[in-house]
Symmetry: C2
Subunit: 398 residues, 2 copies
């Protein structure tokens, strides 16, 4: 898991807990073309506000510094000045400029950062940077996640090998709203591809929209969601600018990496035991297909039924019915795990339900809802709602 030109390192800065990796630095040896999307939540954490401001001024960055355990959100002016201080100290330690550093934070909302420990952590981490350090950073960003999430793709661009690496964290407070630019958790995409600045931002936005923005764990949208993509150009491929055939492999690779990370997030959703694809077809238009897929994906009753391995299609059709999509239940079909269990407004036989129940015992399965009202489709990835989700979130802060 290395990408030429990128070094990384992580340390235990004891930001919230003792003795676990919670602060990481990623450094590119040269200036990197950088694209990013941030949460659309009105309440934006300090590093998000800071990042939006920086990116409005320029697209060249060298480093990312990231911590878990504290979101630095709802921390007012002090949160913003802490963020600036972090950039300054990171720049000093790395021998670069403060405006070349992006900050990302995740964790509890509404607590000030323990700046002494944070700044010590920056010094320590900057001494530990290595080409193998990306995995350590992928661990340092975790909160309620139970495992780190990384993905790598290698593609050829007109004979030149290019690498796209991604890491992500996210297990709860996962639900994008619609429409780019926007993200849903923390993810850093690193590539040695040579890419045009505007096109790189477009790739990030488009791929986020098709991947991270189509997953949900609990329907809650975070204050800190951030996706940052850095492309340092060291592969020296012909520049990808979206015009020629050299661009598609890069965009495909970014999509693949984000898609893999999205799936990893849902599979590691807080308390999740099932990862379920919700595919809605036959909608009048894509907007209605999306409304319907999101309503089913976010229904607590549907998600508890998944947990109970109960092919309770009644809850699925009820959620479709209040989603805002227009359809006639008499023309709708529902399949679970490929098994038809609802058709023409009425239930099928007990045997079908038993087969569907069998399919739901797997950790991954698919729910297909054909509304029978048109030709548009939309797909979401969701997980079940378990007692463990409640335990995790009732006890998270205390």
């Amino acid at each position: 898991m290395e990408v030429q030109g990128f070094k990384a390192g992580a340390v235990s800065a004891n930001i919230k807990y003792q003795g676990r990796l919670d602060l990481g630095i990623i450094l590119s040896s040269v200036s990197s073309v950088t694209g990013a999307v941030f949460t659309k939540n009105i309440v934006k954490a300090a590093p998000v506000l800071d990042g939006i401001e920086l990116l409005s001024k320029g697209r060249s960055f060298r480093a990312i510094v990231v911590n878990s355990g504290n979101a630095n959100a709802c921390t007012g002016e002090r949160g913003l000045s802490d963020c600036l201080k972090i950039r300054q100290e990171t720049a000093k330690a790395l021998g670069i400029e403060p405006h070349e550093v992006l900050v990302a934070s995740t964790g509890v909302i509404g607590a000030y950062l323990p700046m002494d420990r944070y700044l010590d952590g920056i010094k320590e981490a900057s001494q530990k940077l290595s080409e193998e350090g990306l995995l350590a950073v992928s661990e340092a960003i975790l909160t309620t996640d139970t495992r780190n999430k990384v993905a790598m793709r290698e593609v050829e661009i007109e004979g030149t090998l290019v690498k796209v690496f991604g890491m992500a964290k996210g297990a709860g407070m996962i639900s994008p709203s619609m429409g780019p630019p926007q993200a849903t958790m923390l993810s850093f995409i690193l590539t040695d591809a040579y890419v045009d600045e505007e096109y790189w931002q477009e790739i990030i936005e488009r791929c986020v929209e098709l991947t991270f923005n189509r997953i949900t764990v609990d329907g809650d949208m975070s204050t800190n969601d951030t996706v940052i993509g850095m492309a340092n150009g060291l592969a020296r491929n012909r520049v990808c600018d979206g015009q020629g055939p050299e661009s598609k492999p890069l965009e495909d690779a970014v999509y693949d990496v984000m898609k893999s990370l999205s799936q990893q997030i849902v599979m590691d959703g807080e308390g999740a035991t099932k990862c379920v694809t919700i595919r809605v077809t036959g909608a009048r238009d894509e907007k209605e297909a999306e409304l319907c897929a999101r309503a089913i994906s976010n229904s607590n009753l549907v998600k508890t039924a998944f947990f109970g391995e109960d092919p309770n299609w009644g809850r699925i059709i009820a959620a479709a019915g209040y989603s805002g999509a227009k359809f006639n239940p008499k023309k709708s079909v529902i399949k679970i795990g490929g098994v038809e269990i609802f058709k023409k407004g009425q239930p099928l036989d007990k045997k079908a339900e038993d087969k569907a129940k069998e399919a739901m015992k797997k950790p991954l399965f698919k729910v297909e809802v054909d509304l029978g009202a048109g030709k548009s489709a939309f797909e979401m990835l969701t997980c079940d709602l378990s007692t463990e989700y409640v335990h995790i979130n009732a006890d998270y802060r205390t």
Copy 2:
């Protein structure tokens, strides 16, 4: 709990479970002015479709027959003909006409009614009608509810005593969408008041909008939600038609009864241990106040924090932030149990949080969010999300 002219009775028809009351009949001795609102879910149960059809033709009814254990939803043509058969047999047993009977059902979606047992139950129940029978019916309509829900108000209308009685059921799949006419569960309002037909429908719609439509348990809207109001006029008060001073006491009484039933529903929400009022003020307009109150009320992260008695205002402000309401977090204030814990974009001291935590130990408390953006307000009633909710809904059918 009696209202002159109304008799009722309930029996065990073994519709889903053995030996519990699950079928009830309410009969008015004279033709009653009837108003009703039904679910806005596109997927409507057979009795809802049947009721909408009947009410489009006339507003005079004599009886309600209701069952729990089976929603008669997604049951196609057979569900509708079962519904008609129920009206015919009830009418025969009571000596009235089929078009004077309204049917309501609640329970599992997608199973056909056990008609033999149902029709036997009708015969048996019609033999048991008495003025004291309303409480038995209020028990027969329960599903995952742990207790029956009734309320009574007596008011004077220009010297004439009038009674308004209400019963309701509902514990899960509770979340109205916006805008009348629409309901959220089963509720029957019975009064001996003499009231104009159109005005009675208006009262029902207005009061539902202010009460049942402002509660949520799990954000899921049912296929069977039904509120029926019957007014038999036997109190012989001057007719209430919304024009004179005699109308307000009646409307107030209906509001009070529905408000009490709404609170009882939330307090008996599936697995709920807390009943929480969410009051949003300072919104730019009522629409945004409502969006914000609903987002907070339906947030799984907020609701699990209530369960954990954790004054996690970060989740509250995050939900406000993605609700669609526009505001500046720096001008917002959050109080829990009357204690200010967030102001001017940053946390207050630990002492305030401890006090708020203390307030959250009570079964009822209030969360106040002042957005600081305008003058509009909206209030919702919600409950916490507990491990028990998941148990109930993962195991409901199986």
